[in-house]
Amino acid sequence: MPEPLDLEYDIVADDYQTAGEASSNLKETLKMLGISSPICRRAAIITYEAEMNLVIHGGGGRIIANIDEDKIEIKTIDQGPGIPDVALAIQEGYTTAGDQAREMGFGAGMGLPNIKRNADIFEITTEVGKGTTLRTVINFTSE
């Protein structure tokens, strides 16, 4: 089991070229720490979907990952437009993504559902006009 480790990444709005680098780096780090492949994949899916949401919807933001002996906590924080109706936003297929995101294969409205499915804890704190914080936890025992 790995030593506790904290990672932070700044994510730029609307940058579809470098988007995903942070998630890729996090996944590589988890693999190097010897964390099992299924857990690495779950963490990668959560981080990547959340990173894309920062890029597409959140006006950019920050990813913070705290890797512990028995769990990983992945948070994203942005000062974007917020989510007016969280219950609606987490429904499969709901999206407000624009053409650019859709042309690149995003905007299926499956990001938050994917994140939720892969997380043992899934919490969204949001305020319209202020921003959104997503907090997820994966327990290493929950394969």
Partner: protein
């Protein structure tokens, strides 16, 4: 079925990762142009068949431990997509035939779908 068999079946050109072709076993495939669907449903080690060629296809593959991607309808990806795939040891193939044709040929030859395979487990 190896990636080499697949390349031959759909008459694919190899863009990168050709050295792994014969050794890489590809039991399943998933065909889609939506990243989130891939992230939700594609099994690790499956072949991803897609008409999208931007760099995020490779990112998506990285997240899921997907080691091979087949682009359909002769869509050759931009250089940054190929470079990242090479670095990530992901093989990229391109075929001239359509997604429907590619899926039909591979399905007939016994490549399994991801969802069904998961449901059978």
């Amino acid at each position: 079925m190896t990636l080499e068999d697949i390349a031959n079946l759909v008459n694919a050109e190899i863009l990168c990762g050709g050295e792994k072709l014969a050794a890489l076993d590809v039991p399943r495939a998933y065909a889609c142009d939506l990243m989130s669907d891939v992230l939700a449903l594609c099994s690790p080690g499956a072949l991803l068949i897609t008409g999208l060629t931007n760099i995020q296809i490779v990112r998506t593959a990285q997240m899921l431990d997907i080691q091979s991607v087949l682009f359909v309808r002769g869509k050759t990806p931009p250089q940054d997509t190929i470079s990242l795939a090479s670095k990530s040891e992901i093989s990229l193939l391109v075929t001239k035939i359509s997604m429907f044709q590619a899926c039909g040929i591979l399905y007939k030859e016994g490549v399994k779908p991801c969802l069904l395979a998961d449901m059978e487990e």
